[in-house]
Subunit: 581 residues, 2 copies
């Protein structure tokens, strides 16, 4: 019906623009139409009263915005259906773009296809599947794109998983379209789904989006500290659209927002001070709010931000710094455990949940997930386990999965920034890893081997460096790689000094390292003694992570003790946001 | 009464002689006189019937012996008194030498003043004090020496502590007189007091005696395996005098020994094969036994022995190899513990005994003994504690004592080869340590400091090397030194890497090292974690001992784990003789 159109705004050009000055989004639609007495689903106006939409958008264009949002916030199949809108999805979206284009006229204003939530919770929080959500977003996105928008804005999202489905859908439509993504948070900096602004920011750093922002829910003064965290953690340009003050319930049951345009404009300067690249208004803001804001801030240049350099792993609700040391609990591992394996096969995940809770109590920062012999399983086992752990708000996961198809399934369902465990340094494996890292985000465990495990530390080191250079060439920074220098069983007469030497060489290059510690003592007596002693030597030489048995008190002591000996303060709170800000 | 005479046999000359050929001691006296019908105390014959003694000794001279023993085996004040001998002690001893000289006539035969036990058990086994025993031996020894003997033989001793008293008494009489010391063992290689032949041999290596041997109790075939152990462990020339076969009870109540002279001579060749330098006969041997032995073995040269190179510490009943690692339990330490200190002051040593037993169970090899503030104590506290621990057959001790007088008291009472903890590298302290090491035997913990603790590893290393060279110049081998490179509290912002570096430097020179591990974590939280991690790093760099808290499971694990990582088999039985051979 609608021919595919060339995107006017190139992503590169778009990002360059953002360096020059502050850019402006428009203000509210819903509250403006409400003022005019319209109390229905506003997207229907695109079909029933395009003049009314045009008038508001024209006012925003006159107010001086750079970006005009299409009136399509709820215009996805599921939302329209739950709102009982009978108008055609395509018409609503196509008309919205058409109206915006008319409003823009000959001004240099970019039109962003506006998309928000389906209104359904995605599994495991609700019944909607990831793939269903993906298709809903793809459907709306395709119409908008083909109608001639310049970019997308995903806004007022509160579920990181739904956001991820939307991002993947939109990006799959086009590699070239700019995408702005905005979530909404309560004043503690946490979305209703439990995801903190830091978790959001650090995952968005990995994903293929262009601008990351926050909108709605909070008035400027409450949003500012939350936005400050976005400003600290986001490595991408940042955007913000506060509400116009606190909502007030009127006698007629409607809600108004009471921050005046002048006050709003003044507040918005604070966001610019904190590094905002794009500012606009959400609920309660009017063309007058936007006009004053533009007038007040149009000469401003974006601030240079001090961005947190540390790397993090996260689950939906828990964020963990990778430095100084990541304790990855090894105990969700069915390999060689018949009963455990059988339970997983029968989709009984009680033991997994039990081990997740136990390992967190024992001090794990991340949980390694190894479901054992994968031939016995299908990909739904992986989605189910990931969702089961998401439901109990588990620690971040290290997805220890062999089969590519299973790994991708787990990554798709995973909420947060996981560890992808692992890839060898073979080109074909690295290419797969690059695909996964770019599409889903995460940290890669890279094995220092191709087909065989090299005998010497120098060879292992060289293999790691070569692979890291290849990853860097494909835009995967070395900070997203943890090299596993390979621990072999002492019982097999393998020299553990080779592993330690490899760690030392890698550490001198500032490369993160992790070992599968327990492999050392496989089949030996007093494993804890061997594991803890070896770990102390490895940490002394710079090891930054280990997959280990958190029930071994001495091994846990070796982490604390060895780091303290190096002058590292390891007692401080490591999970930085599972409590309110 | 008797003028002091010049010793004919120089020690150096004596030891040189032993390189040339096998030397011969005489045979039995008691059983020979018994055959002639004499059933009284044989030493009285020196006064009442010198002809009878002369005749036997003449027969031994004619049989070809190199050494004639004076007929003074029981001729010490206490033994004679308990045997109700009314003759004068001096006359018995003086006459014995006179008779032997007459028997020797112009032959090149050396006369050894024969001394054996007082017949009383020394404390803590009996009531006799160390000093009383010392005086008894000194009294007899002085008479013998002044009567013109060429050397001493201490024989048939069964209490290592009594032997030590005798050795010190005789050596205090003359620095120049040769001393042969012989203990007697059951066929399991352990004396009735619980001391093994290995414990005896390794302590005698330190003490100022010339030849170390075994005599009596066993017939040649039973004595041979015990003697083999002496041959393995003694770094001094070795001697042996078996009995002439198994004793047989006759109808008249007397005992005879039934190995024929021919058979005896043949057996004695086995002892020569095992490295004996001096051979002779004990109970049941006659001049004919000795004559045939001499005839059979006179052309034999002493065998070169393979002597165990390892170093040991010991208590009366327990021997512990110093390598690969010595776990020294720190918990008998009253410093900073008011109640414990008070109990010690009140001579209530229950807690010490309890901690000794506990630490042995926890895996300690050695017990450090630190009685706290020494000003509150007198030297009898030290002798009592050492005797209390001896009585319960404790592990070897590390005598952690500041006051020189208290240290010497403890060393005098101690049975075995202890650790002397400690000396700084100051010349005056080293001189005191040399005196103690030579007089009492033992291993020295040498601190890498003089007045102040040097900041750098190189300085600590240099101080240790200089001190070791000084000790070596005074005949203390570096194997008898354990260097403590000094661990300072982390809390005092001291760099633990200096200690580790010092260990590494010392280890490369083959020098033993030990640390006071717990000092590291003084005043810190989770001490076990710090201690165990640090210990792993130290052992990796070559640490060979540590004074540590054996109740810390992780610290004990670090010892086992770190050594296993270095390929050291630490599981094998470490206390090599507290069970029968
Ligand atoms: Zn809003
Ligand atoms: Zn005898
Ligand atoms: Zn004898």
């Amino acid at each position: 019906m609608y021919g595919r159109m060339v995107v006017i705004l190139e992503r590169k050009e778009f990002l360059e623009l953002l360096n020059e000055r502050i850019y402006f989004l428009d203000g509210a639609y819903g509250t403006e139409f409400f003022k005019l007495g319209f109390k229905e689903v506003i997207e229907t106006l695109n079909v029933t009263n395009s003049e009314m939409v045009y008038a508001l958008q024209k006012a925003y264009v006159d107010a001086g915005v750079d970006f005009l949002l299409t009136n399509t916030f709820s215009a996805n199949r599921l939302k329209l259906s739950s709102l009982k809108v009978k108008y055609n999805l395509k018409d609503i979206n196509y008309n919205a773009v058409k109206i915006a284009k008319k409003a823009r006229k000959d001004k240099k204003v970019y039109i962003l296809g506006d998309i928000s939530s389906t209104g359904y919770l995605i599994s495991p929080l609700g019944e909607l599947t990831f793939d269903e959500a993906y298709e809903v977003f793809k459907e709306q996105g395709e119409i908008l794109l083909n109608s001639g928008i310049d970019g997308f804005i995903l806004e007022t999202m509160s579920d990181l998983k739904e956001l991820k489905a939307a991002i993947l859908a939109l990006r799959d439509l086009s590699k070239d379209v700019p995408i702005i993504v905005q979530m909404t948070f309560d004043e503690d900096g946490v979305a209703v789904t439990g995801t903190s602004v830091e978790i959001f920011s650090t995952l968005m750093n990995d994903l293929d989006v262009d601008v990351v922002g926050i909108n709605c829910t909070l008035e400027p003064e409450k949003l500012l500290p939350v936005f400050k965290q976005l400003s600290n953690y986001s490595r991408k340009p940042i955007s913000v659209e506060p509400n116009a003050g606190k909502p007030k319930l009127l006698r007629d049951g409607s809600i108004v927002y009471n921050t005046s345009p002048e006050k709003f404009a003044l507040y918005m300067e604070d966001f610019v001070e904190f590094g905002a690249n794009i500012v606009g208004g959400c609920c309660g803001t009017s063309p007058e709010h936007i006009r004053l804001m533009v007038e007040f801030l149009k000469e401003k240049k974006p601030k240079k931000r001090e961005i947190v350099k540390e790397e993090f792993v996260s689950s939906r609700t828990k964020l963990k710094k990778m430095k100084p040391f990541l304790i990855i609990g090894e105990r969700i591992n069915a390999a060689g455990k018949k009963k455990f394996q059988q339970k997983i096969r029968e989709r009984n995940y009680n033991k997994i949940v039990e081990l997740a809770i136990l390992q967190e109590k024992e001090g794990a920062h991340v949980l390694d997930l190894n479901l054992g012999i994968e031939k016995l399983l299908d990909k739904t086992h992986f989605s189910q386990v990931v969702n089961t752990l998401d439901k109990i708000s588990s620690l971040p996961l290290s997805l220890d999965i062999q089969e590519f198809e299973f790994m991708e399934m787990a990554l798709k369902e995973y909420v947060g920034r996981p560890i992808i465990n692992s890839s060898t340094a073979k080109r074909e494996n690295l290419d797969k890893a690059i695909y996964l890292l770019k599409r889903y985000g995460g940290i890669l465990i890279l094995l220092t081997m191709k087909d065989k495990i090299p005998e010497s530390a120098k060879e292992r080191f060289d293999i790691a460096l070569e692979a890291i250079r290849y990853l860097e060439k494909h835009d995967i920074e070395k900070e997203r790689v943890i090299v596993d220098p390979l621990v072999l069983p002492l019982g097999a007469k393998k020299d553990p000094a080779v592993t330690i030497k490899t760690i030392e060489l890698l550490s001198k290059e500032g490369i993160n390292t992790s070992i599968g510690l327990s492999n050392l003592s496989f089949g030996m007596p007093n494993r804890e003694a061997l594991n803890s002693s070896f770990l102390a030597l490895c940490i002394d030489k710079g090891l930054t992570a280990a997959i280990l048995n958190t029930s071994e008190k001495c091994t846990m002591n070796a982490v604390f003790g060895s780091l303290t000996l190096k002058g590292v303060d390891f007692e401080k709170k490591e999970i930085i946001r599972n409590e309110p800000m």
